[in-house]
Amino acid sequence: MIHSLFLINNAGDLFLEKHWKSVISRSVCDYFFEAREKAVEPDNVPPVIRTPHHYLINIYREKIFFVSVIQTEVPPLFVIEFLHRVAETFQDYFGECSESTIKDNVVIVYELLEEMLDNGFPLATESNILKELIRPPTILRSMVNTITGSSNVGETLPTGQLSTIPWRRAGVKYTNNEAYFDVVEEIDAILDKSGTTVFAEIQGVIDACVKLSGMPDLTLSFMNPRLLDDVSFHPCVRYKRWESERVISFVPPDGNFQLMSYHISAQNLVAIPVYVKQNISFFETGSSGRLDITVGPKQTMGKTVEGLVVTVHMPKVVLSANLNATQGTYNYDPVTKILVWDIGKLNPQKLPNLKGSLSLQSGAPKPEENPSLNIDLKIQQLAISGLKVNRLDMYGEKYKPFKGVKYVTKAGKFQVRT
């Protein structure tokens, strides 16, 4: 299936190659570079590129292109999903997935890639199994390794591969047994000029950090499970139990993982936590414009809105901005034409406002369109959908674990049209 993998950075340097079958010359990437050139923005590179003898399927992540070479028919999503899994594994191992960390840990990267695919077909992609095979680097371990000459490769046999619950390591032991669940909801919305909602939905995930000894069997139940009409689960969740009882029953992987994600669609009423009053206009003459943005709370369920950031992609002709913010700081990057206004905490008594003038390239016609605003925000201790975890029960082990649930609401793809 997957023949080879090339890692290419944003500047077009090919810095890692790995082949699972016969070697394919890196000149095949020329087709990719051609497409990359044509696309201008890295986001616009087509994920599937056809060359005379191969197909290149690529993803762009953390400023790195993962370009895989395919020779025969294979579902493109299969490859794309796998490449993302590779990137996630790197992130898991090295803390971040960047060119420098990959270059620093090239041997571990190579060992990981070797284990993840066999002859181009995925072999071990569960992080628990991989960590059993190849230990993630830590500062302490790398020091010990250089002194004693011991290695990163696990001494034990990867028994997880044999198990039918490959996501969990055997023989896990903790002195403090704890299980944390983060309910994170993101609001995706499009608001039109007048502030009415064109479209809104909630994307939620439950991230878990479970550090429990032995083989615990957990059951998580909600106060209002009916809210969730479209869910997807980590493979550890028993789907049948969900279907029949609307509880989430699972033997958790060890460590951090995403338990489930859900989607509350536009049909339900989605609360919009803030409103935006804006007025961006360009004058026909004098090559200048005016900008006036005010943000205020709307439906915040009594919580404070934090981390409020407004991002505006300005038209190309805008040269500079001379603005005045009543709260927070603003920054206009004349190269990327992005205006970022970092507000911080939203104070309902004194609404933040950004006002001032924009100067345009002289002689250029006034831009036809008005830029849209992207809003970023965060509300702690609130799941905007109203989802509430009821309880967590543990079976199969004797001890009493410490349990915790946290709720956060964020703005996802939250856009205001002007």
């Binding site: 999903e81 046999l157 044999l162 198990s163 039918t164 490959p166 479209d230 980590h234």
Partner: protein, 1041 residues
Amino acid sequence: MQKLLQLPVNAVNIVKGVQGVTQGQEEALSPVLTPDSGPQNWYSAVQPEELRHLRSGGTEDRSALEEGLNSVQTQPLRHDDLKEMLDSNKDSLKLEAMKRIVAMIARGKNASDLFPAVVKNVACKNIEVKKLVYVYLVRYAEEQQDLALLSISTFQRGLKDPNQLIRASALRVLSSIRVTIIVPIMMLAIKEAASDMSPYVRKTAAHAIPKLHSLDPEQKDQLIEVIEKLLADKTTLVAGSVVMAFEEVCPDRIDLIHKNYRKLCNLLIDVEEWGQVVIINMLTRYARTQFLNPNINESLLEENSEKAFYASDDEEEEDKKAEPATLAKRKPYVMDPDHRLLLRNTKPLLQSRNAAVVMAVAQLYFHLAPKAEVGIIAKALVRLMRSHSEVQYVVLQNVATMSIKRRGMFEPYLKSFYIRSTDPTQIKVLKLEVLTNLANETNISTILREFQTYIKSMDKDFVAASIQAIGRCATNIGEVRDTCLNGLVQLLSNRDELVVAESVVVIKKLLQMQPEQHSDIIKHMAKLIDNIQVPMARASILWLIGEYCEHVPKIAPDVLRKMAKSFTNEEDIVKLQIINLAAKLYLTNSKQSKLLTQYVLNLAKYDQNYDIRDRARFIRQLIVPTDKSGALSKYAKKLFLALKPAPVLESPFKDRDHFQLGSLSHLLNAKAAGYQELPNWPESAPDPSVRNVEIPDWSKCSSRKDRKEKKVEKPFYSDSEGESGPTESADSESDSGSGSASASGSDESGSGSESEESGEETESDEEEEDEEEEKKKRKKLDKTKAKKQCIINFDQFDMNKITSVFSQTLAPSGSIKMYELLHRIKGEGLAVEYCFSRQPFSPEPNMVAVQIQFTNNTNSETKNLHIEDPRLQSGMRIREFAEIDVLAAGESVTVVMGIDFCDSTQAANFQLCTHTRKFFVSIQPPVGELMTPAFLTENDFKKEQGKLMGMNEILEKLTLGEKCVNEHVIVERVTATANLSRVPCGSDKECRFAGKTVSSGCLVLVTVTTKEGGGAQLTVNCEKMLIGTMLVKDILQALSQ
């Protein structure tokens, strides 16, 4: 892994020996190996690389070549220290060297000249060094075939390791080395691993199959055999990998799937996610060949409603033609239960976190499900759109195709396809496509409002696409045509030329539908010709004016005049349209335009482009009447001013669904290498019984006996499933249980037995069953007590019951034979009989249980029945039954005692005492009773048999008795003779049995191979030759009767 390292101690020596040779060869080109391998080494390695560079051409490649040469020149220096480090005794130095070498490989630098130094470390004890050596080996073995052979013995040794993980990793590396010489070794290793006990090793074997196939396609037939065998595997670990191998090696051998179809469906939910994708895609193709189209009746109705839009849908039309004929004959459509099974078992996977799995299920539903059920996939697909942009891109492509065929499905999610200014352009264009496909009378106003926002976007490519989308909506939905047209005309005054040009092109298409009402628009566009520079737009305007010159009689000649002036500076498509316009004007208004036309034609005559010259010559001949002009010029007007059909604006995604959705070929809209066509539905369904899983044993028996068979397999199954029992598989299996129960009504034989099977796997059922069995056992004992001597007179019915009870708790066995211990007359009224109950003797597992039945035929009580003074061969032991205090007249009682015969047929002698008398009695066991059934899988059986060859194997030819007509009888006879259990077996020519001797636990393996004409061959493998010989004798007798 660790063990694999330590393992070949002598391999180290071997390699070291070889090392000496290779080193020597490096120094003095020793003649031991090929003499030219020294200098040739790097040369042959470099060549293919360079050749590839050369072939692809280009100057930068040449520089790469030079760089390559330079690096070869400079490398030896640097590599010497690496060689030194690899030769050192310190693992840490070796590790450092290997790390540097792997880093070189990762950067794409050539490290092939280090091969000899690296390969000798293949037996290094340090795991990480070893792993890195493997990495190196797999990378360069292909280029250094001779040297790579040195490492093979290490792996061969690893293949025999008792640890399954080591066997697996040895096979994995061995099969990854692409050296043609070792093909036979690989083949052998794969075959062996395919019958390995460990499912993990079998999985590795499945992975190795495509590797070998790509290395040597001639092995295909043998590999298919292995695939066939592995397809029958019941573990989830193997299923995904073997289907992958199937898809790569023999995707057309659909017949191999039949028998495994239901199993694959049932296992699916527990298979790892990548395997799920492959299996689902394969099953989609399979189902298309085996089941009927579930929408066959609906497609008729559907036709009428959707006909209006998709008038030229050939496929459906064909269907329609075929329909009335077939429909009359056909019964109302009933879905095959197997078809249903597939749909039901894949549905939960829509909830998978893996986008590829969700997509696979979605395409399965799209291609296979009844129309009413397809809707469920929409929600899942919409959810995927939140994922990474690459995922979004692929999903949108598929949604675009689906939304043409099944518009209703995505309508509720219309707003999820709204476009954000931050989306990448390619995503925007795809979303636009979907929105356009979803547009209908009810939602068009919302969609158009949305489009209006898009037109203002900064992204000009996207704006152009939006304008085209508006055009398509306008052609499809008559009500909004005028609104759209007005909107587009407004765009003509847009500042951006691209926008205007795109609008012109779209307006041209729209106007063609009803030109009469829109002469003012045409006039407006004629004015635009002065400003618009985009060739396509200019050409469009000229064409419009030419075509409808009668609506604008005053403007048209003026436009031609302007164009004639600028003719030489125009683009080719514009020039062609100018000629066109001139010709049309000449025909309608020759008075005003005659000279202009001739001028234009003269210019064209000397144009650089031969298309234009040709066109000019052709048109001149047609329109300008000369004496030479042919018959055609009479019809020139008809030719040029014929009514042209309005263009149909259709989606580029139309009809893409003849590619399997979700596939690479669908995405590219072109067949990719190795793509398997999605077959059309069959006219009539092939025989569904091919999927019935034959129960090799009691083939013609009732479900009761099926259950027996299942029991035999159970230990293997639950072993391999391991701890998943209470977790995942319990869920999935209870599902299949309930499902097949509903299906069983329609398909009696097939799914009837299936529901039995799957029902049994459910935990709760199991418990009940155990209870039930226990009850039966108790009942049976009661019965024997009550019925005394008449045990032999049990009618057939009861007998069956008893055996089936036995066979449930133990192994399948024949009827139970009673032996006489003490005759009624000799025992003065006390009759004693015994039988070998074949139950495990619970107090001491290595004793044979003997069931003794005392019957008091006298008129008085017999008291204190017990055993005394056993005289036994050395080693033999006896466990007496508890003394029976009183046996009343006419009563009988049954007790069980245990005897350890020490695996010999020596008799156990003892005295049977009553309160008055002592009787000398002896129990001599038939050899067949000295064993208990052992549960083996076919693979284990073969493996064990392999260990018991030579002296331990006894072969005997025989002629089967008249009554041994079928397998059933043979099995019955053998199991009656010896306490063995049946081993499942793929071939119907062979019956296999296995057991262990009771006291020492030696394996006893029996194989009966039947041949044509009543001949047969009996093979007994047993470590204890004496037992083997005696058993052969007994079975021979039983079978030849």
